[in-house]
Subunit: 273 residues, 2 copies
Amino acid sequence: MSTHVFEQAIALTATGDGAYTGATSPAYANMIGPYGGITAATVLNGVMQHPALLGEPLSLTVNFCAAVADGTFELSAQPVRTNRSTQHWVMSLTQTDASGERQTVVTASAVTAARRDTWSVDDEPMPEVPAPQEVSPYTVPSPVEWIRRYEMRPVEGAIPDEWDGSGSGSLSRLWFRDAPARPLDMCGLAAQADVFFPRVWLRRATRVAAGTVSMTVYFHAGVAQLAECGHGWTLGQARAQAFRNGFFDQTALLWSESGHLLCSTHQVVYFKE
Amino acid sequence: MSTHVFEQAIALTATGDGAYTGATSPAYANMIGPYGGITAATVLNGVMQHPALLGEPLSLTVNFCAAVADGTFELSAQPVRTNRSTQHWVMSLTQTDASGERQTVVTASAVTAARRDTWSVDDEPMPEVPAPQEVSPYTVPSPVEWIRRYEMRPVEGAIPDEWDGSGSGSLSRLWFRDAPARPLDMCGLAAQADVFFPRVWLRRATRVAAGTVSMTVYFHAGVAQLAECGHGWTLGQARAQAFRNGFFDQTALLWSESGHLLCSTHQVVYFKE
C-alpha cells in the first residue's frame, strides 16, 4: 500500500515537546514555494500529531510571513491553554536561511474543542448547482504542480480564458476533490480551504502577482462528519468584498457533496498594482 | 482636557522589548471580564505603540483563551518577521492567577503593511438603509456596562424583545458610534468589530450563554481614511452561516457613514445547548 502524496507532503517527524521537522513536497509546488493550503495543512498536522491534543479543530489562522523555501523546515505546535472543553494552540514554521539564521516563515494559531450535541442549523444552504458529474473538468494546462492535486469542475466564475480587463464580479463556484482520490479529513479540509485562485484575477480579468497573507478556517464539520464524505466532491464558493491599497479579502464556504457546510474560510491577499 | 474612556481602557505602560502592562476598565465590563472588542483593541494597541512598527494594521486575529480577570495584565507584542512592506506580529496577554501562576488568557497575531495606491473597488456596497438620524436609539436597559459605550440604532435584526424561540434569521444591521463621541481610528475600529450581540440569540430568539472564541479583522481602511470618518456613524452588518455542535460563526462588515467599507470581520463563537 503506497502512501497518498498528501500524507507525504504533510508528514512530520516529532522531535519532542511539540517540535517537528518536515520538508516541502514538489507535488504541491506553487509559483514560489508550496501551495498555501498544503502549508496550512502541515501546520495543523503539528496540532493533530501532538500527544496533548484535546478535541478537534474548531478554528485555524495561518499567517504567511514569507515564501516557504523548498526543502526542510522546523515546526513548533504548543498548547498554551487547556480548558475543560477547548484548547488554544500557537504554531510557527521556521527555516534556516543562506546565512545560517533561523527565520520565521509562518505563524499560526488554532483552537481545538471537544464538540457536543446541541441545537444546530445551517444558514447557508448549498447553492443550486449542477451535479459534479454534469460539469466539465477544468483542463487549462497549469504552470504549477499543486493544481494537479485537485480535480476541479468550475460551475461559475472560472479562471478567465482571456485576460482582457473585462471582469465584473468576483464570485466563483466549483466542485473539486483531491487527486488522486483521498478520504476527506481535517488536514485535507484545511488544504482545500485555499483552493481558489486569486479573486483579483477574476474581478479584473487581469493577471497580477498575488499571494495570501493570512487565512482563517472555521471548521463546522468534525472528524466523524468528514469521514462520511469519503472520496466525495466538495463544492466551494468564494468571493471578494473589497480590493484596496494592494490587498483584498476573500470569504468562502465549502460544502460536502450531500450539502453540509463543512467550513467557512476567509483570507486577506496581497496583489500588485 | 480629559482623556476619553476608550483611551484609558486601552492604555499600556511599556516596560521594554514589546512588553507592556495594563489593566481592565470597568467602563467596558461585560458579563464576565471585559468586552471582547476592548481586549482586541488593547492587544492591537501593543502593536501600534511598538517603536519598530512598520505600516498600518491589515489583519488582526485574537483568540480568547479564557475570561480576562478584572485587574492588571501583561501584554507582549513581538514583530517576528519584517519584510519590505509587511510586518508580522505575535501577541499574548497573560495574567497571574490566585495560585501565583502566570496564565495565557489571549493569543493574537497581526499583519501590518505599508499600503500604496492601487486599483481599488468595493464589491460590497453599503446596503440601503435609513439614515442614522431617522432610526430610533436602542434603549433596552443593559445589564452590562460596555453597551453604554456605544450609541446604537438598530435598523434590522435588533435584539429580541421576547425570548419565545421564534427566531428565523441571523442578519442584523445597525448604526452605531462610540459614546461619548470619539474620532475613529484603528484601535477604535478593532473594538467596533465585536459590537454585535451573539447571533444565536437572534436566530433562536432564545438567550443562551455565548462567548467569542476567536475573531479576525481585515482592515480595508487605513489611518487616513478612518480619520476622515471623524465622529461619524458606522453601519454594521452581521450574520451567522452555521450553528453546529456548540459553536457558530459570524461574518460581518462595517461601513463608514459615507459608504466606504472599513473592514470585514469574522468570528467563531461558543454557545451553550
